[in-house]
């Protein structure tokens, strides 16, 4: 089978980036990835932009990004599946190369979320769920994950303390990531003292809106081997699935069916098992989401995710290190950029370039990028030969 490899990675600092437009953020990540790959723009056949349009004043974002990157007249298009738009872009680039249509594709995840005024944010927040039957009761994004959390506690005895331990871990690693929004460790006491958002979730259970961008350059096997001076990181397992928009149509509220199906697909394509994964980036938009992700990905049994973090098994040295870049929680969550940022981090880990956050001898890594409340999930397995 044909193969697609990552030949360049780049990342812009996440956070409140009042110094830059979204296309300027995209440029930071793109330029870094191009320098990393050691290629020029004439080597790029197309770009795919992962972003969620409703946060931007600029309509039709792909066009303005493509111009600013200096990639006209090469083709570009936008992928949008809420918070999973980034890995959707990675998958779309992979598909176009697998199909033999393009040979080298730039994947740019970019988002500017802090330009909106608070009323605009609050209005958007009220339309996260299914609007006909659910949003009319003032449901919110944290509210949905809170309902998962409450049910998870009920069925498995998961504690809120275990959820907050996820935040403590992710801030511990975020403090060591130059690109993270919050570069400060936190204590469990501090997390416990934070304001309520949607019970049982508090402020420190939630990730923050951010601005940011990340970029990976994908190439077919021949071009990757010819162009890349660093170890090529191969996309070897590409899973993707959906679950119902409405939480009312889900089989249960203790996991994400889309994640379970996407994971099974990715493991099968890559020919690996959950125990083969050396390092993972999972979608911790809320602390409970990381716990459910570890279960949905098979890192532990369904229901044991709370215990996994309590036993520190998701730290370096544990069974499966998770979110060593700080995760969405500490790194910030510029929605369209997040999936690409996960891909950058795993590529870094597999190349051995993660510095003090490095998992020794990591060869196989995984990304888990979720849109909304699991309406869309992408699970992607990356490998260094």
């Amino acid at each position: 089978m044909a193969r697609v490899g990552i030949i360049g990675i780049g990342h812009a600092a996440f956070g409140r980036r009042s110094d830059a437009t979204v296309q300027e953020l995209a440029f930071e990540a793109f330029r870094a990835a191009m320098n990393d790959a050691g290629i020029g723009r004439s080597d790029i056949d197309a770009s795919v932009i992962g972003s969620v349009p409703e946060y931007h004043k600029q309509r039709s974002l792909a066009g303005v990004v493509q111009e600013y990157l200096g990639l006209n007249p090469k083709p570009t298009w936008l992928t949008e599946v809420a918070c999973a738009s980034g890995c959707a872009a990675v998958r779309t680039g992979w598909m176009s190369i697998m199909a033999g249509v393009h040979r080298v594709v730039a994947i740019v995840g970019c988002q500017k979320m802090t330009e909106l005024e608070t009323p605009e944010i609050l209005a958007l927040m009220g339309r996260v769920g299914e609007v006909q039957w659910e949003s009319i009761f003032g449901t919110t994004f944290p509210g949905y994950y809170a309902m998962f959390a409450r049910r998870h506690m009920h069925e498995f005895g998961t504690t809120h303390e275990q959820m907050l331990s996820v935040a403590v871990k992710n801030h511990f690693y975020g403090a060591k990531n130059n690109y993270a929004m919050f570069r400060k460790e936190i204590t469990i006491e501090k997390a416990r003292d934070s304001d309520p958002v949607a019970s049982p979730l508090q402020v420190f259970d939630c990730c923050a809106n951010a601005d940011g961008a990340a970029c990976v350059i994908l190439a077919d096997e021949e071009r990757a081997k010819a162009l890349c001076k660093k170890p090529v990181i191969w996309l070897t397992g590409m899973g993707c699935a959906t679950s119902s928009m409405s939480v009312l149509r889900r089989p249960n509220l203790v996991g994400l069916p889309s994640a379970q199906i996407a994971a099974a697909e990715a493991y099968e394509m890559a020919g690996v098992k959950p125990t083969d994964i050396n390092v993972a980036e999972v979608h911790d938009c809320f602390t409970i989401a990381e716990i459910m992700a570890c279960e949905d990905l098979g890192f532990c049994k369904k229901g044991d995710g709370g215990k996994l973090i309590a036993d520190r098994q998701t730290y370096i040295g544990g069974k499966i290190p998770v979110n060593l870049d700080g995760g969405l929680k500490a790194k910030g969550h510029p929605v369209g950029a997040t999936g690409v940022s996960m891909t950058v981090e795993i590529a870094k880990q597999l190349r051995g370039e993660a510095g003090e956050r490095q998992v020794p001898n990591a060869r196989i890594g995984l990304t888990h990028n979720v849109g909304g409340i699991g309406q869309y999930t992408f699970v992607q397995i990356l490998r260094r030969e």
């Binding site: 006909q132 003032g138 998962f148 009920h154 304001d195 309520p196 019970s199």
Partner: protein, 150 residues
């Protein structure tokens, strides 16, 4: 008129619009496919099982059990005057699930996953303005007109 449905309504036009008229008369309706008989709550005009596009309403008993819930402290636009409010998700006896506020017949300290609930229609009328919705209440609670949406 489906625009009556909800404190804030985002989707005034739908093929199941009569749901709101029934609710105004104190009935909570699900849908039944006229071909294969598949039931749905919330109602849908097009059968997800057999793809048939014919349906009829049937009244649900409103009996159910609480599946999960959350007390929301940070509210979106249009709900800030209600903060904090508790949203419950319940499994319905006949079919499907429902999301709604947990009403005042269930005090906060009595809320428990697995408890029995009754879906109760609520009608709020003020001059020309009509709003209909429902809440999750103690079994035995009957529907009523209401003078506030909190």
């Amino acid at each position: 008129m489906f625009k009556w449905f909800g404190k804030v309504n985002f989707s005034p036009f739908t093929k199941v619009s009569a749901f709101a008229d029934h609710l105004k008369d104190g009935r909570v309706m699900g849908s039944r496919c006229t071909k294969c008989g598949a039931l749905s709550f919330p109602p849908r005009a097009d059968c997800v099982e057999c793809m048939h596009d014919g349906f009829e309403f049937f009244e649900i008993s409103g009996k159910g059990t609480l599946h999960t819930y959350t007390k929301i402290a940070v509210a979106p636009t249009g709900f800030d005057d209600m903060v904090p409010y508790t949203v419950g998700l319940a499994d319905l006896k006949e079919t499907g699930r429902i999301v709604a506020w947990i009403g005042e017949t269930i005090p906060e300290e009595e809320i428990k996953i697995g408890m029995e609930i009754q879906v109760v229609p609520r009608i709020f009328e003020e001059r020309e303005k009509i709003k209909v919705y429902y809440t999750l209440e103690k079994p035995g609670t009957t529907w009523s007109k209401t003078d506030s949406m909190n």
